[in-house]
């Protein structure tokens, strides 16, 4: 016999994500799922962003990594509460991991929770963790062809941060072509150009982020 199901393969994850989203909404917390390749500068962007946000809003971080607590230690040095999740080889964070991590966070004392996902342009895009919006970091050294090679992550993200913009003169990265590809793929996407080591472009990005929290 043929049983008709039409059941979402990720429904088990999506159900937990919906619970997370409800939990965050009830406490008025805005959650950003920050994604990007390994080495694109997610943690450095986070350090720069946090140093501008601390004192303005109450913020905490969940760090997703395959192994080690290196990134969490970097965030902790800024005096920001951080929970480390090690996926032990797993390529993405899922809703259940976030649910579990939130038990150790003081959610009543938060405006913004930033989740730094595992470095990967494929899998994290597929898994809802209960966030309000996604953002993806693309560094200049990765090449301008990435938006069309990994369309889903750029389609799902509200913003793209083009990081390491100071390296533009040393690469064949075509900024106009990348911007055109991003916009044709996702007409309403916000694009920021930053250099986290030089500290450029960060004000626009943090203002946008603050706008998401205090809207």
């Amino acid at each position: 016999m043929e049983i008709k199901l039409m059941k979402n393969i990720l429904s088990a994850n999506d159900e937990i994500a919906a619970l997370n989203r409800k939990m965050f909404a009830e406490r008025g917390i805005v959650v950003m799922n920050l994604m990007g390749s390994p080495g694109s500068g997610k943690t450095t962007l986070l350090e720069q962003t946090l140093s501008k946000l601390v004192g303005k809003i109450r913020v905490a971080v969940i760090e997703g990594d395959l192994f080690t607590a290196k990134d969490a230690e970097r965030i902790e040095r800024l005096g920001v509460e951080v929970i480390q999740i090690n996926t032990a080889g797993g390529c993405h964070l899922d809703a259940a991991m976030i649910q579990k991590a939130c038990v150790s966070l003081n959610l009543d004392a938060l405006d913004l929770l930033i989740v730094e996902n595992v470095g990967n342009l494929v899998c994290p895009a597929e898994f809802d963790i209960g966030e309000n919006f996604k953002a993806v970091v693309l560094s200049i050294t990765e090449g301008d062809d990435k938006p069309l090679k990994y369309p889903l992550i750029f389609k799902e993200s509200s913003a793209t941060v083009l990081n390491k913009i100071d390296l533009l003169p040393f690469t064949n990265f075509d900024l106009q072509s990348a911007r055109t590809d991003l916009t044709t793929l996702h007409p309403t996407i916000k694009i920021f150009e930053t250099s986290c080591t030089k500290g450029t472009g960060l004000d626009d990005w943090t203002q946008w982020l603050l706008g998401k929290v205090t809207r």
Partner: protein, 112 residues
């Protein structure tokens, strides 16, 4: 490489459906996968074949139906099938809203 996670979920959904219908043998599991989802079909088949061993789905085969990316213009209302990822309307100045291509579904389970 989240194909192993997907294969595990697919197997669990199929086994649950079979059990609820008092079936002991699964022959086919039908999937609907949108073209926009990042699934490597060969890796998915391989993971499923490993996980299904010693279960009622031991001999089950995945039947995969890929759904093209389609989108509707928010101004003129026309529906377009997208070959490239251009979400600007080719016929007016509207923007295309995704209609299909994000599917990740267990469509049917063939069992007895």
């Amino acid at each position: 490489m989240h194909e192993a996670t997907l294969a595990e979920n697919i197997l669990n959904i199929a086994l649950d459906a079979a059990q609820q219908n008092r079936a002991t043998k699964i022959f086919k599991v039908g999937l609907t996968l949108g073209e926009l989802v990042g699934v490597e079909v060969e890796a998915l088949r391989m993971s499923f074949d490993v996980l299904k061993k010693n279960s009622p789905a031991d001999d089950a085969e995945l039947v995969i139906n890929r759904v093209p990316i389609s989108a509707t213009c928010n101004k003129c209302g026309k529906i377009f099938k997208l070959e490239r990822y251009n979400f600007f309307c080719p016929e007016c100045d509207g923007v295309l809203i995704l209609q299909s291509g994000r599917e990740l579904l267990v469509d049917f389970v063939d069992c007895e």
